[in-house]
């Protein structure tokens, strides 16, 4: 087979040598625009798993590569003048130049033709070949030529970064977070040879502009960075290599091959550099492609196989890279965290590593995280042993919770204390008969109901569990039948005995629902009165904490969302107008609810429907609530309308809690299908939430059973 490879980067060279090795009768020719000794970039990083794949694919180049490797297992983080050390992460670094030289030598040894300084202007000008492999990088000529076939999508990132080298010996992957007069800068640095390190400097676009780097020359940029990181560089110099401040672009292609042309590595996909995977992915692509061609004589079948093998792996990594990129584009948001939480959040940013993973990798690091969490970062407080975050206490206003676990028995079920929890949430409780969602929903307006509640709260208070009530007015979701396990009749209107409904606007919840009437100003005052009265009852009945329900399409939430609020008065239109009534309710309840008892809000953070409420709206609403004395936010999403589509899964509400907590600086209670203490510890230790609403085993799949 005649094979032409465009680009003599790691992917092209490796694929060439593997193909030739598998079948020496192949004619493999690699065309490269640059001379053999030109290289851009400094070092490349591989994980131990990738190395194992290299060992299997070609032992000779594996040996040559590994003999030149710098190995390290630690990640150092400079943050607020502290150096945080975490080990147990095995990486290998290598100069890109050494990697290329090694692969070039191996190619020559196997008889692969290497044509350097050969510019390909047009694909049509290539000599005919049975297979053309485009390993020509992110600006691939081949991909651009056949855009219609590959359907590339390029999404540019928002941060600016510059790829530099430092003549500095490092013994760890090193992150540096540096506050400057212009804003936050961060460095990703790792060793690749005994005396050189890659040194990537990154910052937000506005910081980059403020620092005047937009106009700076390459040399001026270096001087700027050397001065900024003088403390950490300790006299080491920075070097450029045709380095520019750029945005990272993520590339995805709908197809990776067309006819006899196939994309490899960066030509097909890119993943943010912060998870160090570009070269790794490219070389793994090369292995998969060479394997497929060896296995299947039919070229179309082989290229399909290559694409099917690699695509899920690449997409998984691109997902993790996107999480990591998102973190580094908004790092400023996390600088409110104490150093242990900041560091833990950084290490778990791509959501692939958990608390338990880090405990295995570095028990001392986790001990420090635990201790710091338990003492709230206080250096003076002495404790002998620190529990994991989930079993630390939390002082919330005047309320002390024994741990971070929160449970919420379903309102329809019998109320029983969930042993092990620090807080039990009861509700939603209706503030009035007309505010009920279903006929049997308990409420705090009714003397009988609240008398039973008193007994139940008292029985919980015999344990260390504190009790929180959720107050709700169901609005247009009222007068519905209760949800059942089978034959779903969710949000189905009552056949008999329905009561009139109210909402922000006169829009029915489902086509079958009763059309509510628009809440009048007088009716608003009545609703406020219902909430304050229910709050007083809750206080008298011994509840320790209160949450007001402003989510899931209920009355207060119906004001917040533009989908359900179409009012033209002072309570509709702009976000400030839409939040006006919910804020009035909150302020009134805050007046009557005792100061020392926490008052929070279950807040809708996005509708899950195009054109609906967004997380940005929720951040603004949370900030306004905070100003009125709100102690806690429980982020929720969806159910504003029945069409909502959410990315359901484990801890699906956690990103909302993290944003509210770090950006607004509020205590967050997060739910959304969290079932393990490992997930809870990962969220808590990373400063993403303060309290975890755990899903009890009864709502999970069968626990292991012992058969008799």
């Amino acid at each position: 087979m005649y094979i032409t490879i465009l680009g003599a980067g790691p992917a092209g060279l490796y694929c060439g040598l593997l193909l030739k090795k598998a079948n020496p009768s192949h004619h493999v020719r690699i065309l490269e625009r640059n001379p053999p000794d030109a290289t851009y970039g400094w070092g490349v990083v591989f994980s131990d798993r990738t190395l194992a794949a290299f060992q299997e694919a070609d032992f000779k180049s594996y040996k040559a590569i590994t003999s030149r490797f710098v190995l390290w297992d630690a990640i150092d983080t400079y943050y607020r003048g502290e150096l945080i050390h975490c080990s147990g992460h095995v990486f290998a670094g290598l100069a890109r130049k050494v990697l290329l030289t090694t692969l070039q030598e191996r190619c020559r040894e196997l008889g692969v033709l290497l044509a350097f300084s050969t510019e390909v202007e047009r694909l049509e000008s290539l000599a005919p070949a049975d297979l053309v492999i485009a390993a020509d990088g992110v600006n691939s000529l081949a991909r651009r030529t056949h855009e219609a076939a590959f359907v590339p999508r390029i999404s540019p990132g928002t941060a600016r970064y510059i790829w530099l080298g430092a003549d500095k010996t490092l013994d760890a992957f090193t992150f540096i977070f540096k506050e400057s007069e212009y804003g936050l800068f961060q460095v990703h640095s790792y060793p690749f040879s005994g005396d050189r390190s890659t040194f990537i400097v990154e910052c937000a676009e506005d910081v980059w502009r403020r620092a005047g780097l937009e106009q700076a020359s390459e040399q001026e940029s270096i001087v700027f960075c050397e001065r900024l990181f003088a403390d950490e560089l300790r006299g080491a110099r920075l070097y450029s290599n045709n380095s520019k401040w750029i945005n990272f672009s993520t590339l995805k292609c709908a197809h990776w091959h067309t006819g006899n042309l196939v994309l490899l590595g960066d030509a097909a996909h890119t993943a943010h550099f912060s998870i160090g995977s570009g070269t790794k992915l490219a070389m793994e692509d090369a292995i998969a492609l060479a394997n497929a061609i060896e296995q299947y004589p039919d070229l179309e079948r082989a290229l399909t196989e290559y694409e099917l093998t690699r695509r899920p792996i690449v997409e998984l990594l691109q997902g993790a890279a996107a999480e990591s990129q998102g973190y580094f584009e908004h790092t400023q948001r996390f600088t409110t965290l104490p150093s242990a939480q900041f560091s833990f959040n950084l290490l778990t940013r791509s959501k692939r590593i958990t608390y338990d993973d880090l405990r295995l990798r570095d028990p001392r690091y986790i001990e420090w995280v635990d201790r710091s969490f338990a003492t709230c970062g206080s250096q003076t407080e002495q404790i002998t042993f620190a529990p994991p975050p989930v079993f630390t206490s939390l002082a919330l206003g005047g309320l002390s919770l024994s741990n971070r676990i929160v449970t919420q028995p379903s309102a329809e079920r019998t109320w029983t204390a969930q042993a092990g929890a620090g807080l039990e949430i009861y509700g939603p409780l209706a503030v009035s008969a007309d505010g009920r969602a279903t006929p049997n929903q308990p409420g705090l307006y009714d003397a009988d109901h609240s008398a039973t509640l008193r007994a139940q709260v008292d029985s919980l208070h015999e344990t260390s569990i504190k009790v929180c009530a959720v107050l709700n007015h169901a609005g247009r979701r009222g007068a519905s039948r209760a949800p059942t396990a089978s034959a779903s009749l969710l949000d189905r209107p009552l056949v008999t005995g329905a009561w009139p409904l109210v909402s922000a606007s006169a829009l029915p919840y489902t086509p079958r629902s009763q059309t509510p009437s628009e809440l009048t100003r007088d009716a608003m005052r009545a609703v406020i009165e219902q909430f304050t009265s229910a709050a007083s009852v809750a206080d008298a009945r011994g509840f320790d904490m209160l949450l007001l329900h402003m989510a899931q399409g209920y009355l207060l939430a119906s004001f917040l969302s533009p989908l359900t609020n179409q009012r033209t008065d002072d309570f509709g239109g702009s976000l400030a107008n839409r939040m006006r009534f919910p804020l009035e309710v909150f302020a009134a309840v805050r007046e009557v609810w005792p100061r020392q008892k926490p008052l929070g809000v279950a807040l809708n953070c996005h509708d899950g429907v195009k054109g609906g409420l967004t997380l940005d709206d929720a951040v603004a609403t949370a900030a306004s609530l905070k100003a009125l004395g709100c102690d806690l936010i429980q982020p929720m999403a969806g159910q504003t309308t029945p069409e909502a589509s959410l990315p359901y899964g484990k801890a699906f509400l956690a990103p909302l809690a993290e944003r509210i907590r770090t950006e607004v600086g509020m205590v967050t209670l997060v739910g959304g299908y969290i079932t393990t203490t490992n997930e809870a510890n990962t969220l808590l230790a990373g400063g993403r939430a303060d309290l975890i609403l755990m899903t009890p085993p009864s709502s999970r799949h069968a626990t292991p059973q012992v058969k008799g």
Binding site: S486, L489, Y673, R700
Partner: protein, 300 residues
């Protein structure tokens, strides 16, 4: 976990009497249900007609569509057929519905392909209403409406399951793929305040026997899924070809909390059922047929 077996109703050339004989033998075997697939433009039987015949030929075994393409059917007629089958079979039906993936099935029935997702959601609401109102279909209320389960894999599916249905039918794949989908279904279920847990079904293909049987199985799966393009090859690779593979597949699904797995044949040969009965009998992860036989036994 319970194990069901597929009816060879979508295996080209399968004769009517073979289906009924297959059903009788499955009824006497360890299986909890007989499941059918749905294709329009393919050599195959109408799923509800096939199950109606099966209902008459069997006494114990439950019946399931895994899945039936809803938007290409008139909702009222579908509700009526399903209610009829539910009543005739003595409450043995689980109706799995989904949007389907093949445009040709829409074209063949004259149903619009555009907006199929929105229409599907409306259909779900309408199915429940029709069954509840009893305006159409048999009035006998002895068995209640059939269980409604949804297939599909988009984000929107899991919210629909929690809002309109009793559970989720996974489309096949390794246990870890099922486990991820099951978590999504449970998260949505909990989020919408549904008591209990969604019923969860898994699915796999098997071919047990010599190389010729396995080759026939691969050929069938490749052909059946040829509309997915190259992905058909991946599905064919997942074919369960040994009792060991079946045991591990079922264990993986059981550990992920699956309530019921439907194993579909890729050949209509009578030995396939015999071999499958041998393969699943006595597995620790499989619930016995006697237990599974109780109609209305709560599924998990």
């Amino acid at each position: 976990m319970r194990v069901s077996v597929g009816l060879p109703s979508t295996i080209p050339g399968c004769q009517g009497r073979v289906l009924l004989e297959w059903a009788r033998r499955a009824d006497a075997g360890p299986f909890s249900a007989l499941a059918v697939l749905d294709r329009i433009v393919y050599d195959s039987y109408d799923p509800l007609i096939a199950l109606a015949a099966v209902a008459g030929a069997t006494t114990r075994i439950r019946l399931a569509t895994n899945i039936i393409i809803a938007p290409i059917r008139n909702t009222t007629l579908l509700a009526r057929s399903a209610a009829s089958l539910q009543t005739i079979s003595g409450g043995r039906l689980s109706l799995g519905v989904a949007i389907g993936a093949r445009q040709e099935d829409y074209e063949a029935t004259g149903a619009p392909f555009a907006n199929r997702s929105r229409r599907f959601t409306e259909q779900l609401s309408e199915l429940q209403s029709t069954w509840e109102d009893k305006r159409v279909g048999p009035s006998s209320a002895e068995f209640g409406p059939p269980r409604l389960l949804l297939g599909g894999s988009s984000d929107a599916v899991f919210g629909r399951v929690a809002r309109y249905a009793d559970g989720y039918m996974h489309g096949g794949g390794p246990p870890r793929a099922f486990a991820r989908a099951a978590d999504k279904a449970r998260a949505a279920w909990l989020d919408l305040g549904r008591p209990g847990m969604p019923i969860l079904w898994g699915q796999g293909y098997f071919a047990l026997g010599g190389d010729d049987i396995i080759e026939e199985g691969h050929r069938y799966v490749r052909d059946y899924y040829s509309f997915t393009g190259p992905f058909a090859e991946k599905i064919a690779e997942g074919l369960l070809t040994t009792p060991q593979a079946i045991a591990q597949f079922l264990r993986g699904y059981a550990d992920a909390g699956c309530g019921e797995v439907a194993l579909f044949p890729t050949s209509a040969g009578p030995d396939q059922l015999t071999r499958l009965i041998d393969a699943v009998s006595g597995l620790a992860s499989v619930e016995s047929a006697a237990h599974a036989a109780e109609v209305g036994h709560p599924c998990t």
